[in-house]
């Protein structure tokens, strides 16, 4: 308990650096007076005007925000969830079948080595439709950490736990849902977390190359029209979104895996 409090205090203490960096950034860019490097205040103002100056009834979101940020988040989560479901089920199945994994492993290593942005063009040709192309890009890009971690998690389930479940007559199905998946959960979550941050990156890439709306699309348009503050604003927005999404995930993970944190601390 004391350790957690101290850790929290240390994390808060680290926050003082944020305003200092922003202040230095503000002063430097103002002195520089270069339009390619607008001061943070200008970036925030343009972000506010573009996305957050809407009516109170819509929580201050503008049409631009609703038409771009929401679809971006939707794509990111849809792709991530799809990859998570496929990755966990396939990974756990493979993890319990070591021989099959040996055969499939070279394919996984190959697939993982392909830079996903390259596939946007291929998927665009294959699907000829924007949303499917984007989702395929995200799923293909983020599935690997989930898949590999699920394989590893399912493979390293303690044999005594499986023996116990077998002795007490749990069916294969019950063993999968009640023993193997919970036992593999800490590793699966590590994979899911990695995938989530990748999903944000691939969402932007998919939108920049094959989008007609979304934050990535707005970034591309702003670049074409030399609206430098909006280019910077999109980057800031993506950074903040990534931070928030990751924080929420870590919070959910720590709630769900309380047993794991406590049990590993106790030993």
């Amino acid at each position: 308990m004391r350790g957690r409090l101290a850790g929290g205090a240390r994390r808060l203490a680290g926050l003082w650096l944020v305003p200092v960096v922003i202040a230095v950034w503000e002063v430097t860019t103002r002195l520089l007076e270069d339009t390619d490097f607008p001061p943070p205040s200008t970036i925030v103002t343009s972000m506010y005007e573009l996305w957050f100056s809407g009516p109170p009834s819509r929580l201050f979101f503008t049409d631009e925000a609703i038409g771009n940020i929401l679809p971006s988040l939707g794509r990111m989560f849809a792709g991530w969830i799809l990859a998570a479901v496929i990755g966990v089920l396939l990974g756990v199945a493979l993890g319990r079948a070591p021989v099959a994994t040996q055969y499939v492993d070279p394919l996984i290593q190959l697939g993982r080595a392909i830079p996903p942005p390259l596939l946007v063009s291929l998927f665009a040709l294959l699907f000829r439709e924007e949303l499917r192309t984007q989702l395929a890009t995200i799923v293909f890009g983020v599935i690997w950490p989930v898949l590999l971690n699920s394989i590893e998690g399912a493979r390293s389930v303690d044999p005594v736990q499986v023996e116990t479940a077998t002795v007490f007559g749990l069916s294969r199905r019950q063993q999968l849902w009640r023993i193997v998946i919970p036992a593999a959960a800490p590793k699966i979550f590590a994979g899911l977390r990695l995938s989530l941050s990748l999903a944000l990156i691939l969402m932007v890439i998919a939108e920049v190359f094959a989008g007609s709306d979304g934050i990535g699309y707005q970034l591309r348009e702003a670049q074409r029209e030399f609206e430098t503050p909006i280019v910077w604003g999109a980057i800031v927005l993506l950074g903040v979104l990534g931070y928030l999404v990751n924080s929420l995930f870590v919070l959910a993970e720590s709630r769900l895996l309380v047993w794991h944190r406590q049990a590993t601390r106790a030993t």
Binding site: V167, R178, A183, A185, W259, A263
Partner: protein
């Protein structure tokens, strides 16, 4: 109740093959508490896993209540040595105990009631909502015993169940086993490497040889009931028996070296 005839098990094959059990014969009567002692690494765990149907022996036959063991028999429970690995850390204590009862076709309310009753019988009535990591080692092993009891097996196998707890807890758990078998009519096979424990708990002690294991000694333990950690251990018959078992185990070790 349990009939083992000419049991043989070999791990692997070729020059690296390890013969763990070789021609082991053993029978356990209904309601008997049999202690099995042997030097470490003698194939005791292999024996347990064969009886439980977790591994298929390469030779011989095991029958429980007349039926040959294939897969895992549904009237059998196992208490493993390492409670920290056999209890599921993501489930509460009550859920751990209730989990196997799904096989008994009980509805949720009855599973819960049976788990609570089993926890009470091992002295953990208030621990149901806790998680295993919140309990001491001895209490965790009690939970494992409660899980086996709730399952109401006719045969309970205990694989060095008290090997990982301190001496005081060990004595408490030994008494718990004696008390439990007084309440529930069940046959118990307890594997241990502790000579005193084998005599104190058992109705009968079987001594195994070093691997490949076979039976080298079979002694009846006739000690006055109820057994007690102090008086039983100073009883002349106890002292005599533990010496005899000790000699057999030592003999095994001397012959091996």
């Amino acid at each position: 109740m349990l009939e083992i005839s000419n049991l043989t098990h070999v791990y692997g094959s070729g020059p690296t093959a390890h013969r763990a059990i070789d021609g082991l014969d053993l029978s356990v009567a209904e309601g008997e508490l049999l202690s099995v002692v042997g030097p470490s690494g003698c194939g005791k765990s292999t024996l347990i896993r064969c009886i439980a149907g977790l591994i298929r022996p390469t030779g011989g036959e095991i029958r429980i209540a007349g039926t040959p063991v294939r897969d895992t028999p549904d009237n059998l429970a196992v208490v493993f040595q390492d409670y920290s690995r056999s209890l599921f850390p993501w489930m509460s204590v009550a859920d751990n105990v209730a989990l196997p009862l799904r096989r008994r076709n009980m509805d949720k309310a009855r599973r819960r009631a049976a788990a609570q009753e089993a926890l009470e019988s091992v002295g953990l009535a208030a621990a149901g909502k806790k998680y295993p990591f919140q309990l001491s080692g001895g209490m965790q092993q009690r939970v494992a015993i409660a899980r086996a009891l709730a399952y109401r097996p006719s045969l309970m196998l205990m694989d060095e169940p008290f090997g990982s707890v301190d001496a005081q807890t060990r004595e408490d758990l030994e008494d718990l086993v004696l008390q439990v078998r007084g309440h529930h009519r069940m046959t118990i096979v307890l594997i241990t490497h502790d000579i005193d424990e084998s005599v104190y708990v058992g109705d009968r002690v079987v001594v195994l040889s070093k691997a490949p294991a076979h039976v080298v000694g079979d002694l009846k333990v006739d000690l006055p009931a109820p057994r007690d950690q102090i008086t039983t251990r100073e009883h002349p018959d106890f002292v005599h028996l533990r010496a005899e078992v000790g000699r057999l185990v030592r003999g095994v070790e001397a012959a091996a070296s």
